[in-house]
Amino acid sequence: MEILIGYSNYAIALATMIGIYAIMALGLNIQWGLTGLFNLGIAGFFAVGAYASAILTTSDTTKHIGGFGLPVVLAWPLAMVAAAIIAWAVARICIRLRADYLAIATIGIGEILRLIFKNEQWATGGTRGISNISRPFEQLPGIWAPLAFLGLVLTLAMVAYWLAERGRTSPWGRVVQAIRDNEPAARAAGKNVETFRIQGFVIGSALMGLAGALTAHYFKFVGPEATDPLQITFLVWVMLIVGGNGSNRGAILGAAVIWTMWSASELVTSRLSGDWAHRAPFARLFLVGLILQIMLQHFPAGLMPPRRQVAAWRPRKPAAIVPQPPQVLPPF
């Protein structure tokens, strides 16, 4: 019986993290898959969301700014807004950059944000981070607490998926994909390229901020070194490439596949002893890198490539031509 509880707890934890990463992968899909924006600062926006929600919900302490005590229902949207505002400010400056330059710029922004969170002790608790963050439903008995939180995460992930899919098939989605494929043509068609790219960047970053807020409440702690920032960015990228760039379902599938592998390999490495136990995690990172290379070389479209946009737009079968009665022109 206890083994059973252990297994189900593991499955719940796994599914929760998959839901959180799926939201981030959807955000990256909007940025890179649809709009073609090379964002390597995912961890930065993730951290903005995490810290914003943590500061807004915790009670009054002397260790960091806080005492707002907002409920998560308000704090999570505000965390998204915070990430979106930062993303907007970044995008205003960087959005015209060519993709490689944008990647370098976003690495720099991720690094700046990490240093701010690490050093502004009055606001973020410095290296000690923020603890005692409340988790929704944690007062429920036994297994119901993580199960209810899992339900919440999966609901949010489904909502994100629905919105992303609606966005992809909407006129807005067609414009951003046109910009991705042929910017001069989109500009010639009278589209304001910068505005659409800023929108794509901001929406994707807001989803990353939401994922950060969810993670902060799930672990009940957030700190500058709690997770290796580059690892988050890298994992999300691999998830999107494995799942299928440009495909929302692929982003979710990629999150599920990669996080399951990542987590299952931890089960193996945690059994090692001594020095190897500290080093084995890096072997996992190496393996994920290798998966990325194999996918790029042999399955460039990913496991679940996007359905062709044209299919949604194929005109219906032309209606059978009904012979029209000859029209008699009125006499005047």
Binding site: F38, I104, W237, H278, R279, L285, Q293, P300
Partner: protein
């Protein structure tokens, strides 16, 4: 007078030293961009790999870091050729951004291997206080700083001669200017690509060894330098090695 001395000892000399390190890395970055048309995100980690190759030989044979340089350059060139063969060459026909993503993956793979083999703690080539030399009876420069700046100047001069006067250098510049025209005139692009990797990798190895010698050797040190190096390369104009040399100094001096 004292203030000038402090300025020279504490700011100008370290600035020139880190400027030469940035420049050595940025030259590789910019050469690779010129010939392959993509930003090599793994360049910082190639530097780290060079530093660790040298560390292995310094540890095994008890060599002076400068003597370990040629071995580190050789090993890093082989590493770069291997990476190019297995990871970049199959993607050559695809959009250059795919190569950029791939190089991001390669960066983490190199770093993960280093952390796997050497652990995460910092290492040193030489322990203890370094000897320094007195100049004009007033200000002192640590010996390794003289070594670093001299080696960097020699290497950059050698690169200049190579690019200007040899067939290989002319071919590299031709490919960088116009790959199609270069191919039409009979230049073997794949040979040029390999030569670029050897040059870029060697210079990165030197930069990595110098960086480790000047401070400490750690698995993240190359990645942390990618940003200033890219800044130096972009400031000098991507694809222009001379710009990268100047860019390195321009970025490093205000920083120190």
């Amino acid at each position: 007078m004292d203030q000038i001395l402090i300025f020279i000892n504490a700011y100008l000399v370290p600035g020139i030293v880190s400027g030469s390190i940035y420049a050595l890395g940025a030259i590789g970055l910019t050469l690779l961009f010129g010939v392959l048309r993509f930003t090599h995100f793994a360049h910082g980690d190639v530097m780290t790999a060079g530093a660790y190759f040298a560390l292995t030989f310094v540890g095994l044979l008890g060599l002076h870091p400068v003597l370990a340089l040629p071995i580190a350059m050789l090993c890093t060139s082989v590493l770069c050729l291997g990476i190019n063969h297995f990871f970049y060459r199959p993607l050559m026909k695809r959009p250059s951004l795919v190569l950029t993503i791939s190089s991001f993956g390669v960066a983490l793979m190199i770093r993960a291997s280093i952390q796997l083999l050497y652990g995460v703690e910092s290492h040193y080539y030489v322990r203890g206080i370094q000897r320094s030399t007195e100049f004009f009876g007033t200000f002192r420069i640590v010996d390794r700083h003289i070594w670093i700046v001299c080696c960097a100047v020699v290497l950059m001069a050698a690169l200049h001669l190579l690019l200007t006067y040899t067939r290989l250098g002319k071919a590299m510049r031709a490919v960088s200017d116009s790959p199609d025209l270069a191919r039409l005139t009979g230049i073997s692009t794949s040979a040029i690509v390999k030569a670029t990797w050897v040059i870029g990798g060697s210079l990165a190895a030197v930069a990595g060894v110098f960086l480790g010698w000047d401070g400490f050797i750690q698995a993240n040190m190359g990645w942390d330098l990618l940003l200033p190096m890219s800044a130096a390369a972009i400031l000098g104009g991507l694809g222009r090695p001379y710009g990268a040399m100047v860019g390195g100094l321009v970025i490093a001096l205000p920083k120190s």
